[in-house]
């Protein structure tokens, strides 16, 4: 038994050495693997699981507010090479800011050629993907959007309190999904996030995608929580304003490779 263990140990030692040698010999790869790391901030203040519920922020309209819960969905991440070739990644990304293990997204097939790219993705699900009850993991997270509002899934659940510096803080539920025009009539409400920042990929890379939460209250609609706090899910106007405001929420951050 001792002998066998020694043999195994020696084998591993050789293997480990030879891998190091390989690293020095192999030229820069032409095919690389990419993954995505979503980070979150309120303007320039980083927001993560440590300070999500303790940070007091001021929105564009001027209300001081606290955040209790932020969960959101993006899908169909796609990199477009400067030569026009597109690489659509499978799967969708469900992020819960209270759980940092959900910040990363590694598509199953994530191999692309080196080169210069731009990134785009869908905010929420598009009409093809937003199928009521179709995804067991999202159902298990109670991420569903009520059938009476068009069904499918939430794109965003952002809960918190505003006017927290007054004697009368009030709750808000900034939830985004399919827009109900009238009873039984619905309008798709996803957004295409098309980021023009050039991403130069020369090796295996982690692409940071930054979410500026403050933008939900800023552009183009300055959000007044005193008027639009809750319920917002059945409110067509509020839903379309959210769809407009999400367009400036995301940007490309650091590319680590």
């Amino acid at each position: 038994m001792k002998k066998i263990l020694t043999i195994i140990a020696v084998s591993f030692a050789f293997l480990a050495c030879s891998e190091d040698n390989d690293d020095n010999i192999i030229p820069a790869p032409s095919q690389v693997n990419v993954s995505f790391n979503f980070t979150h901030n309120w303007d320039n203040t980083l927001i993560n699981s440590s300070n999500l519920t303790t940070e007091i922020v001021t929105n564009e309209h001027g209300e001081e507010m606290s955040m209790a819960r932020i969960r959101y969905l993006v899908s169909r991440l796609e990199l477009t090479h400067s030569n026009g070739q597109t690489y659509l990644f499978d799967g969708y990304k469900f992020t819960d800011l209270s759980d940092e293990t959900t910040y990363n997204f590694t598509p199953e097939n994530n191999t692309i050629p080196t080169g210069t790219y731009t990134l785009k993705f869908i905010w929420g699900f598009n009409e093809t993907d937003n199928v009521d009850g179709a995804y067991a993991d999202l159902n298990s997270a109670s991420w569903n959007w009520p059938a009476m509002l068009g069904g499918g899934y939430h794109f965003l659940q952002f809960d918190g309190m505003y006017n927290v510096n007054t004697t009368a803080p009030a709750p808000f539920n900034y939830h985004n999904g399919t827009a109900r025009v009238s009873t039984g009539v619905f309008e798709q409400n996803y957004a295409i996030i098309d980021l023009s920042t050039e991403i130069v990929i020369s090796n295996n890379a982690v692409i940071e995608v930054k979410m500026n939460i403050a933008e939900f209250f800023k552009n183009p609609n300055t959000w007044d929580l005193n008027v639009l706090d809750t319920p917002l899910m059945p409110n067509y106007t509020a839903q379309k304003m959210m769809q407009e405001n999400v367009s400036t929420v995301f940007s490309v951050g650091t590319v680590t490779q």
């Binding site: 084998s11 059938a147 709750p171 809750t230 059945p234």
Partner: protein, 359 residues
């Protein structure tokens, strides 16, 4: 490379040899392996939600479940041998009891309502108790046995009694192989039994499967439940696509302005968690009164009135508790009655009468 292959084959061969010897005891006797008994996952779950959580080191077996059931109903576990798990977790009450607090063997009452037990394998985060203080069902079962205001026993005594028992040693061997009885084996067996406590045959389940019709009142109650402008219950209590009817997450649902029981905050030490308790499932409410973590409400009317008019503000109240300044969502009397009718349609008589779950 050829050399490495050779060693690889050698290692594989050794692993095979070791594996084969698993069935043999030190004395060279062969022991029978327990019989796998995978959970029977209801269609309404398999079609909608993720698979149940079964620990890799405690697979469901016929022998393990039978042992767990016997232990669950056996007062031997308690200090003076008068109280079993089932005393506070009775099948007829969806495995809770009908009192606000439960009485331990020394006549002392706790300060939390006994939790109903069903669909526990679908608690994906595996945080158990009202305050989530224990991870995994196996660890949960360790606590009531030694809790001084519950079964008030020691595990040494339990293991000793089981070891001296005429039937248990054989049952443990059949379930877990030879070797001494341990507290870990006891709670593994109980957890296996508890995972079989599956409830998925309510009138509403059958409605979703196209096998039953709801009354207009139940249908309107369902709409109240799903309507953000009325009940808005679904954000914490599931929906037809999440038929657990709970999120198994911790919320302050506006019961109190100040807290005598910190709940999750006591566990995490984070004041932001004060007053938070796990959302219970809304299945089987017909059998599980009283309600809330402290059993303060005797009827569903009281529960609905709480969310409608009775919310108390506090620094950690969940923002999903709408219109807290008005006491809540202010449902009409008709909507309240309809909501109650819908909630009762989530109860599952076949669960409380399942012969597999009776002593």
């Amino acid at each position: 490379m050829n050399g490495f292959l050779k060693y690889g084959v050698l290692v594989l061969f050794m692993a095979t040899v070791f594996n084969c010897s698993d069935n043999k005891t030190d004395d060279g006797d062969y022991v029978s392996q327990p019989t796998p008994a995978p959970l029977n996952i209801p269609q309404i779950f398999s079609e909608n939600i993720l698979d149940p959580v079964i620990p890799i080191d405690n697979p469901q077996t016929i022998e393990g479940i039978a042992l767990g059931k016997k232990l669950f109903f056996d007062p031997l576990l308690s200090g003076n041998q008068t109280q079993s798990c089932a005393d506070c977790h009775s099948p007829q009450n969806a495995f809770t009891d009908n009192t606000r607090f439960s009485e331990g063997i020394d006549g002392i009452f706790g300060n939390r309502n006994s939790m109903p037990l069903f669909n526990l394998a679908w608690n994906y985060d595996e945080k158990f108790f009202w305050d989530g203080r224990v991870f995994s069902l196996e660890h949960q079962a360790l606590e009531p046995v030694t809790n001084p205001i519950e079964m008030h026993n020691t595990w040494e005594v339990v293991v000793d009694r089981l070891t001296q028992h005429p039937e248990y040693p054989n049952m443990f061997s059949n379930a877990f192989g030879n070797g001494p009885i341990t507290r870990e084996k006891v709670t593994k067996a109980i957890a296996q039994f508890e995972r079989t406590l599956i409830s998925a045959n309510s009138k509403f389940d059958r409605y979703l499967l196209g096998e039953a019709q709801l009354t207009p009142q139940e249908l309107n109650g369902f709409n109240v439940f799903m309507d953000e402008e009325r009940g808005d219950c679904f954000h914490c209590h599931g929906n037809p696509n999440n038929p657990l009817w709970t999120d198994n997450i911790f919320h302050n649902n506006g019961l109190d302005a100040t807290f005598s029981d910190l709940g999750l905050g006591e566990v995490t030490g984070d004041p932001a968690d004060n007053g938070k308790f796990k959302s219970p499932s809304l299945r089987n409410l017909a059998y599980s009164a009283p309600y809330m973590h402290d059993g303060r409400f005797n009827t569903l009317e009281e529960v609905i009135n709480h969310y409608s008019e009775g919310l108390q503000n506090s620094p950690t109240i969940d923002p999903l508790m709408k219109k807290v300044d008005e006491g809540g969502v202010n449902l009409s009397d008709q909507d309240k009655a309809d909501l109650k009718a819908f909630l009762l349609a989530l109860s599952d008589p076949s669960f409380i009468n399942n012969p597999d779950f009776q002593n």
